[in-house]
Amino acid sequence: MISAYFIHLLILIGIYLILAISLQLSVGFTGLLNLGHIAFYCVGAYASALLALNGFPFWIYFLAAGFLAMIFGFLLSIPTKKLKGDYLALATLGFSFVIYAVALNWTGLTRGPLGLPGIPRPTLFGFTFSDNVSFLILTFIIVLISYLIIKKITISPFGKVLEATRDDELATRVLGKNTFKMKSISLATSAFFAGLAGSLYASYITFIDPSSFTLLQLIPVLCIVIIGGLASLKGTIIATIILVLLPEPLRFIGFPSSIVGPARQIIYGLILLLILVYRPKGFYGKVELE
């Protein structure tokens, strides 16, 4: 019998996998340094939680979470269409702060800092995913579908155009491709899957508040994408598993209580550094981050 602790970790891996492979689509395959991903995750989580708390069925609130995040992704792509690199990163970072501020201050809708408690677990065809084993199965079905769709996108002609846009946008435009449209679709698709991940997170934890969607929450996802290697889904999967599980063995090292927190974080950081020393492009990276 697998312990509930391990099942919990597998569920977290599943949620992070959806977040990371979707971020890989915009960052790794399209070259958009998108720091707004956590905002799409937040939009999905809140949309899903509010609809679930108002009695909507799972398939509606789950898809609504994805589509609402997708709309935000598309809207974000309009004002940022001419931005690249650091400037795009700053603009999308600003978007994250806006969404966080809305979640924190629109108390009539989100209850602000008090958060949304009592979010129900999903029910599908009369079956409620109330225990963590069934929720794990649901999560991995969604992970598999998400992976297959994103994989299909990346190997399709459309995916090749995304990669061409990443490598040389001007040349791609000279070849007659509408790179703005390509980037918009990429960002919106990436946001759609982040919204789905947010919906899964809200349904799993059953409580959300704005503290779960700060910039600090984006850092591990971005680390996964970089350590896995840009434009590599295989690397992203491996990095997700390693980065989510890595803090767990460190918990079993007996540090003195006065340094237990910082010491574990230092070791965690050093291990990540070591990986990047030996694999500067990440595990299976095809391109370098500019």
């Binding site: 602790y5 391990f6 977290l12 508040d209 767990e248 063995p249 927190g261 974080q265 291990i271 020393v277």
Partner: protein, 373 residues
């Protein structure tokens, strides 16, 4: 990257692996002979000051209990886990305590939103969890297994009324951060203003948990010529607020929360800057506790150190009197009255400490002076 650095990094990895093996080899025999407490605290991140204060109180109590023979002849062992003030980590750690470590009882989490995320897991795992630093009425998710040894914010109302008692029909302003704990303060402050026939003319909610830039907000409050300002802020905001009040020469009387006392005790701000300011806090811990604490840590006990210390003694007493399984501990906590260093602890229907009153304290000439009418 030099070979030396690479070697150092590999050494770190080897230490991790050896540590794991060591743990695996040594933990089993010890487990049967100890009372295991899991402490899920914010030892890093934005709540680290309070998490570290909790830890110091816990360590001191455990040392004393173990030196005096333990609980029913068994030593207490605390497994510390740092959630880095991230609710996702809090949930993971609670799972670990329940499923892997099989602890007898859990202490923590440090802050309210962390508790809200973890309580469903605590409830499902039926593991008694006692927080020394989350104020009972800031919890949005309830469980019969979740207890708080700190008093609820609502208990401050009488103390705030005492502060406002000398005013009538005067202009009062409120400034708080945007957190469940501060929102509970806002409600309590509003009730006290209404009860003392004063007028709330401005209410400001800052956007962040801490480290807010508040110059504009304070300029607005100054322009209103308020008679008093009631605030609820975290540590660094409290420092910032008190410095700016002095810089801007704001003449209104100031009432802060327990963090005012904590930043002064921790030396984050000098007493002169805060002279003439009031704050609410639980009664000061007993002299005996302060002396013992100073001997070990060479400093004043911080906020929530005393309640954390009491929480360990409370657990020890309940296990001694009622038994070690979770249900016995829960039943015992509902019945017990424990006179600790932070005051008398007994639990209300909602599982928060129901016998502790807040005091109104004035900072005067470098001293904390309990206010007397």
């Amino acid at each position: 990257m030099s070979k030396i650095l690479q070697t150092i990094l590999w050494v770190v990895i080897i230490v991790v692996v050896v540590g794991l093996i060591w743990y695996g080899l040594t933990r089993k025999p010890a487990e049967e002979e100890v009372i295991k407490i899991g402490a899920v605290l914010s030892l890093t991140g934005i709540a680290q000051n309070h998490g570290q204060n909790n830890r110091e109180g816990i360590d001191l109590a455990v040392k004393e209990i173990n030196e005096s023979g333990g609980v029913n002849g068994k030593e207490i062992k605390v497994i510390y886990e740092d959630d880095a003030t991230d609710s996702k980590n809090t949930v993971t750690i609670v799972h670990k305590f329940i499923d892997i470590d099989n602890v007898d009882v859990i202490i923590g989490p440090t802050w309210d939103f962390l508790a809200n995320a973890a309580i469903p897991v605590i409830d499902k795992g039926k593991k008694v969890t006692i927080t020394p630093s989350v104020l009972g009425d800031t919890i949005e998710v309830t469980s019969p297994y979740f207890f708080s040894t700190f008093s609820p914010v609502a208990f401050k109302q009488k103390t705030v009324e005492k502060f406002l008692g000398e005013f009538r029909n005067q202009k009062i302003g409120i400034m708080i951060i945007n957190s469940p704990w501060a929102v509970a303060h806002l409600e309590t402050y509003k009730k006290a203003i209404l009860a003392t026939n004063n007028l709330l003319v401005k209410e400001i909610i800052l956007s962040e948990f801490d480290n807010n830039e508040m110059s504009t907000e304070l300029a607005i409050l100054k322009d209103l010529n308020l008679d008093a300002i009631l605030v609820c802020l975290n540590d660094y905001d409290s420092v910032n607020f008190l410095k700016k009040v002095k810089e801007l020469d704001i003449q209104a009387k100031i009432l802060g929360n327990e963090h005012f006392g904590d930043i002064l005790k921790n030396g984050l701000l000098d007493m002169d800057t805060a002279d003439g300011v009031y704050f609410t806090d639980l009664s000061l811990p007993s002299e005996d506790f302060i002396t013992k604490f100073k001997e070990v840590y060479k400093k004043e006990p911080g906020l929530y150190s005393d309640t954390a210390y009491d929480t360990v003694y409370l657990i020890a007493k309940v296990i001694e009197e009622y038994g070690r399984d979770s249900e016995s501990i829960r039943q015992g906590l509902k019945k017990i009255k424990y006179n600790g260093v932070s005051g008398e602890i007994s639990f209300s229907e909602n599982n928060y400490s129901s016998n502790k009153e807040f005091e109104l304290i004035l900072i005067k000439n470098g001293q904390f002076v309990p206010y007397e009418e």
